[in-house]
Subunit: 77 residues, 12 copies
């Protein structure tokens, strides 16, 4: 029997405050338009430097959320 | 001349039966809502343990399908 | 304060001409349906061989574009 | 405030039946001596060949379980 | 003193049944034409989708077998 | 002459505050039961999302500490 | 039932013209002595510099071709 | 026509406060002696533990800055 | 039927003599307190420099040893 | 006896024409200020998109050149 | 114009003496049956432990040698 | 408060004797022109084969040394 299915999308969150804040920005954004967010994974951490200072941290964040499985879709039909 | 274009989405399929079944669950789910699936690639293999037993295998699966190319979209317009 | 948010999608561009042309095909396609494309990253480079000759180069390309941030969405509401 | 802490150990499970069975063997073994197993991650998949046949699948499995956090240990003292 | 020497070849085994069966297909094939197979290592796991169903699992398998060492070759001469 | 020997254990620290706090939680926990901690290395950064918000950051941390070498053990015997 | 089996060989193609041309050189060479070439994958891209100019691009290319499966070999016997 | 050229240097920034602060320390240092810093990329995150506490976070940071291109150098000559 | 189970521990061996000697130091140490060591795998090779000279090579070594399987533990009970 | 020593620097070459041209731009630049360039290795391939079109390919290139060895420096003193 | 073509084979050299000796064993073996060896690359370093001591170092070595290019083969015909 | 800052440079050391000797050659060279070397990390291990024998081991070595921090530079001004 098949179980839950999750979909993962790739975002880049940015913040001038730090790494954790940039992650949070990405998750906040995802939660505006998606239901059922379950976990995130952090990828590349980069950033933009302007005039010798860190202008923004840019953190790649994979956000995963539950979608209805094949069986659930069938049951609904 | 440009050729076909494919789009790849990231799913996590789960199954209590095994790795291959979890992959299958992800592909089954993708085929419910997408046409033109062509291939998949397996990423991380993980799982949840409950009460000392494997409750579910969780397999990250990238599923790719054909989308209309720039030229095909132009020709249609 | 949170900054811009970007979304990244995975495409595979193909071309019979070469690697750069396959990248271009993927970006061209993305620009047909998405606004605000900012950068791309090249992943796996593969290809199909037919009758002893390269029939097409297949290049995985991640294309990133700006989406409205959580704050911008809030401000709009 | 700090949350839960998990410890991860590295096992190699083996089975003559297949990949999923080798993963299961590793988790079964861990559950004999450890409480609070929560998840596993699969690493390298290898195997031994004997007389031209697969004698055993050998799968590296990281098994994680909850340990008491620093705060919990302090509270207990 | 130098010891045994092994050679590793790269195969892709396929099966419509599952991941372990595709590995087995690769090892079975190698054992038809090579003596002294000792171990295998699994690489990329992919597959072909046809008409919304997994048509075949494709598993990259490195198969290693013993070859005569430099010293053994010398001794034979 | 052989030198010091170190052992490395794998922990996952969690915190609702951020990445650095999760690392700290793991190191704090290790220092409760182990002497001679010398360095740590950060692995995967993940997290749990609950109700659209980051419930906890989960950071894999390898913590290394000095153990007595073979020679030191011999000298003690 | 087992399906097709493929063998993969590692070549390094070189060209003074560019990356795509070096890939092509590798595939051209493989097609001189091997039947049934199906796909290639690009690995490391390097090159030699002579007198301040790129003397040649050197591209590692894995070329895969179909071999007869265990079952096909059995059927032929 | 060739465009801008960037040079990337590898630094390790350290801080007793956290990961983001260690990144900042590296960028601050680079901006003391280099003009035209544009972006950074974070590599390995490690740290030193002293007396059971994190004495410093050590973060590998690649810092990139613009250098004059071959054409610009030619034009200046 | 499940087969043998192995446990893998992470050590860092050090030596002022060279890479192989540092690996040996780690294995020697493991064999002081563990029975049934079977194989090792080398990870990161680093070292400490003192006064312009290599003071010690530091080699991460994973050492694996056999543990009793679930079935063997059951049989013993 | 020690042999030659090489130093490797990290550049990012850019071009609006393609991947090979961006590599060339980096090597051209290096050869303006460095003698004894011997080889290059290509890292990440990225690019900037402007108004839906590839504005520039950005290719990370490691360029290596010979430096005088310790022994040669000693001999010169 | 296409240049030289190289073929790479995968060997595992072993030695009871150390890492460099195991590499040498693999190269020695390759040179018995192949002409035109040009370079090698070291992969995974592992080993077998017997009775608490390193019985042999096992080093994966890719050995590359020149093969005649497509053009050279054509010219010969 | 910011701590020490380190800079890392990439060298390739070579030796006809072995891997450890090639590492040593790189560190020896670095110590001729740089003060405050602290640690090294080994990257790719390759080598050149001449006339069927290993002519030289080529080992990529990252060497790190302390540079004055931003605060120290400021204090000096």
């Amino acid at each position: 029997m098949a179980g839950h299915i999750y979909k993962t999308i790739d975002l880049v969150g940015t913040s001038e405050a730090g790494v954790s804040e940039a992650i949070q920005a990405a998750v906040d954004r995802a939660s505006q338009t998606l239901k059922g967010l379950e976990w995130f994974e952090v990828g590349e951490i980069r950033g933009h430097i302007d005039n010798g200072r860190i202008a923004e941290y840019q953190v790649a964040v994979k956000v995963s959320f539950r979608v209805m499985s094949h069986d659930e879709l069938q049951a609904e039909a």
